[in-house]
């Protein structure tokens, strides 16, 4: 039997589709870890990125710091944190948040920076406050890039959230780590296929959101009727 047919057998076996070890439960756990990570990282990185983009302050610091954060190996970081905090949800969440912050932050400041300075000046000259410039001009116009940052972060986190299984949690990583421990390669391959499928589905979802957000650009709407 080939690895492919063994993997298909593993993926289609009914006993793998129920219970706490079953595929639906593991997918939910996996998406759950991803959602929590993006929520925490987004709460930190997006406001900070918007502020950096709007004011232009600390930009070089942010670029250098996020570059360094990108270079951190998630599994190594997770192991290190787990040695201090023990097993549980916190160490993998911290490690994944560190992974998610750079694309979120970069998306946020790059989105704001992408807005034509003339448009921003026009808004100011019309009497917009700085807050209004940000929320009514810069964020709506930069939204496709900001959402692109979230999309990129989600893709990286969903593909890496398998590390949670390394410290005793669930998620799709369980199949990889348990499979390797008992040389059950169909289980490992099946788990990998599931990670890829979930990642592609989430990426498609965010690609849709990104397209939607560029459709809402007020500049396009307001410009459209006036163009000859």
């Amino acid at each position: 039997m080939s690895v492919v047919t063994d993997t298909v057998d593993w993926l289609t076996a009914s006993e793998h589709w129920s219970g706490p070890d079953g595929i639906p439960h593991r997918v939910l756990e996996h998406v759950g870890y991803t959602a929590e990570t993006i929520a925490i990282a987004g709460a930190v990185a997006i406001p900070l990125g918007l502020w950096i983009g709007h004011t232009g302050r600390l930009r070089s610091v942010a670029v250098a710091l996020t570059g360094a954060m990108r270079a951190l190996p998630t599994l190594g970081l997770l192991t290190l944190i787990a040695l201090y905090l023990g097993i549980g949800l916190t160490p993998p969440l911290i490690a994944l948040v560190v992974l998610a912050i750079p694309p979120l932050l970069a998306g946020a400041y790059a989105g704001v920076e992408s807005v034509d300075p003339q448009t921003v000046d026009a808004a100011r000259s019309m009497g917009f406050t700085e807050g209004q410039v940000l929320t009514r001009v810069e964020i709506p116009l930069g939204l496709p890039i900001i959402v692109g940052g979230i999309r990129s972060a989600v893709l990286q986190v969903v593909a890496t959230a398998t590390v949670a299984a390394y410290v005793g949690l669930g998620g799709l990583g369980r199949y990889l780590i348990d499979g390797q421990a008992i040389s059950d390669y169909p289980q490992m391959a099946g788990g990998s296929v599931l990670v890829v499928v979930v990642a592609l589905l989430l990426d498609a979802l965010f690609a849709g959101l990104q397209a939607l957000s560029s459709g809402r650009r007020p500049s396009l709407r307001s410009r459209a009727p006036s163009s000859p």
């Binding site: 192991t79 787990a82 023990g86 549980g88 410290v167 369980r174 780590i177 348990d178 421990a181 008992i182």
Partner: protein, 301 residues
Amino acid sequence: MFTRKLTAVAATVAMGLSLAACGDDPTEGEASASDTITVGSAQFPENEILAEIYAQALEAKGVKVEKKLNIGAREVYIKALQNGEIDLVPEYSGNLLTYFDPKATATSAADVEDALDDALPDELEVLDPAAAEDKDSLNVTKEFADKNGVASIADLKKVDGLKLGANPEFKTRSYGIPGLEKVYGITGVKFTAISDGGGPATLKALLDGKIDVADIYSTTPSITENNLVTLEDPQNLIAAQNVIPLISDKKASDKVEDILDAVSAQLTTEDLLALNAKNQGADKAKPADLAKEWLTSKGLI
């Protein structure tokens, strides 16, 4: 011009690959001279220390010895042993048995030794096993042992909602969760898979009380450093893993056998623990030095 460059690159890459292959594959190369014993070892410190002990004990009694240590996994060094690349390697009885007979059910030291004699191919033989064992062992903290009156695995039955942490394979292997139920009647264990082979994360989870019982290899220094209680295993749930010399039949002369038997006769699990502790602890003592020190202390060299 471009093609020539490409050919040169391809040739360089191919050469590099074949060189790398030579370096990585210890099964290649020529067998040693007939009167020399080549000692090999698996790729972890304890096994290297044991191989050094064998090598130095043989050398001290005038046997010609070569060393090819840190070969890698069992699949690799057994093959090297079978084709004469190495002649002697320190092994662990239970794992060696399941390598040659995956369906083996023997667990006590004596049963494993008997089964091993049948399972080994003709060209290989094992000598006397040492009392020293490196195997999975279930450990609890001193406080937990005192509070629940636990000294053996059988006592765990009294503890409700037992939380156990181990490598992921513990969940399915016969010595793991299925064995706890079948051999000791322990059910409802809450299992946490921690993939570090009883290393620091497992230890931390045990000391923090996130798990009650931890599977840690019996010769890990953290057991003694943290006053952990290793639970007795009266029903032999976990197969014996006595340190045992695996030797090529051609090289097992009476003289060699006597020397190695004398080593095995003195080697205990406590010795292994102490050797590992010195190797991994602050002084990071080298395997060769540790072997010499141990052999000297036992009067073997």
